[in-house]
């Protein structure tokens, strides 16, 4: 028997069945992987905190990350909703770090910034999540960009300026300036604001360290 493919009943039933089937498959796939995804996210966050403190780098082995995190990093009480705070002792000096989410050009940027308790010099910056333009603003996640912040002196205005430079990175750690990503002026503004806010948060919690 040939089905009446163009009849309204068939069209509605077919569309319904197809939608339910494919959505169900997606739901199952999502449900089966949800624990793994959570574990991956927590690992990525711990790894980024260690990298921001300078306690780990890209070559650190995966199994070392959790033990390093457990032994070196102390999780502090959240200073504000949506902000996580951490501290670590490195060479007998205390450092503080915050994880926060701030607006970006296309979506929120989540980053971890570590600095000394008075927020006078940045220890490190790691971008955890961002949805900036691929190839342009999206490059703020690249190591060369983040490495510019490590050791950078914070300006008198409490900021590190993300400005147009040579496009090769700014090696001067005393001028409170880093090279912006070429073709991503707006994203650079958002990074500058995020870093300024993170430094403010660190100053707020730094007194207790």
């Amino acid at each position: 028997m040939k089905l009446k493919k163009e009849s309204i009943g068939y069209v509605v039933a077919f569309t319904f069945v197809v939608c339910v089937a494919f959505v169900a498959l997606l739901a199952v796939a999502n449900q089966l992987t949800v624990e793994r995804v959570k574990a991956n996210q927590s690992f990525a966050s711990h790894f980024a905190v260690l990298k921001a403190f300078g306690l780990a780098d890209a070559s650190t082995a995966r199994d070392q990350v959790e033990s390093l995190y457990a032994s070196r990093v102390k999780e502090l009480a959240a200073p504000a909703p949506g902000v996580s705070a951490y501290s670590a002792k490195i060479d007998d000096k205390s450092y503080a770090a915050v994880k926060l989410t701030n607006p970006g050009l296309w979506g929120p940027i989540t980053a971890i910034l570590a600095a000394d308790p008075k927020a006078e010099r940045v220890r490190g910056l790691e971008i955890l999540e961002q949805q900036e333009t691929p190839g342009l603003g999206g490059r703020i996640g690249e190591p060369w960009f983040n490495a510019q912040f490590a050791g950078e002196k914070v300006g008198a205005d409490g900021k590190i300026h993300v400005v147009q430079g040579s496009g090769k990175g700014d090696p001067d750690k005393e001028n409170s300036k880093v090279d912006a990503v070429t073709g991503a002026s707006r994203t650079s503004d958002f990074v500058e604001a995020l870093v300024a806010k993170a430094l403010g948060d660190i100053r707020a919690i730094g007194g207790a360290l």
Binding site: F14, F22, L26, Q131, P134, G135, L136
Partner: protein, 225 residues
């Protein structure tokens, strides 16, 4: 190998390649080609989604009512794109982080819908799968060629490996989207000029010389989509 399969392979990689002849997938060409690694990820995503999507749609084609066929195509194609995203997030988080912003770009890629509508809707599943793979690769080699030029001139690197000395000044324009317009246009021009020449040569044996380059009309029609 059957002649039909041979034709599908040749069409996908050269005669009817997505970028040069169908002029599909141009938006992603502009977006991702300033970096070879990102281009690679994009090409693999598009190839997988097109091939699997076309295979599934070809299996279902006798059941799909004409009225809702495009809705079903979008559903099936986006299903595969989301599946890639879910699996990568769980098992390859590093690649997933790289791919993140591209997931949206894969599903908006006109090659997926274009092949589903033009090929999978009228051909057998195996052949549709092959057509998806070949179109993905036909799209891929053009993209990789453009990305090689853009990354080398824009950053002085290939796959992130520095190839130029410290005195090299990066061509900022190559990093920005406009340079992709220039390069795609130049590549299109070159490929079509080469094809026209090859056709003219083939017909020089005595056939109608006025009928050279029949592909041009097709290109213009496809570009309007």
């Amino acid at each position: 190998m059957s002649p039909a399969a041979k034709k599908v392979i040749k069409d996908g990689l050269w005669t009817n390649t997505p970028i040069f002849v169908q002029v599909l997938g141009i938006c992603s060409t502009l977006a991702v080609t300033n970096n070879l690694y990102n281009t690679m990820v994009m090409v693999l995503g598009v190839t997988f989604a097109t091939a699997m999507g076309c295979w599934t749609l070809s299996l279902l084609k006798d059941l799909i009512p004409r009225k809702v066929r495009m809705i079903v195509q979008v559903l099936v194609l986006s299903f595969y794109v989301i599946i890639i995203d879910i699996l990568l997030r769980a098992y390859q988080p590093t690649i997933s982080k790289q791919l993140g912003p591209y997931v949206g770009l894969i599903i908006t890629n006109c090659i997926l819908m274009g092949r589903a509508e033009a090929f999978a809707a009228a051909n057998k599943p195996g052949l549709s799968f092959l057509d998806g793979v070949m179109n993905g690769l036909g799209y891929g080699w053009v993209l990789l060629a453009i990305a090689t030029v853009r990354e080398f001139l824009g950053f002085g690197t290939l796959f992130g490996i520095k190839l130029t000395g410290a005195s090299f000044t990066p061509w900022t324009i190559m990093v920005m989207a406009p340079s992709a317009f220039f390069l795609v246009a130049l590549a299109l021009w070159g490929a079509n000029a080469y094809k026209a020449k090859a056709e003219a040569k083939a017909k020089a044996g005595g056939a109608k010389p006025g009928a050279a380059n029949p592909g041009a009309g097709q290109t213009a029609a496809a570009a309007k989509r």
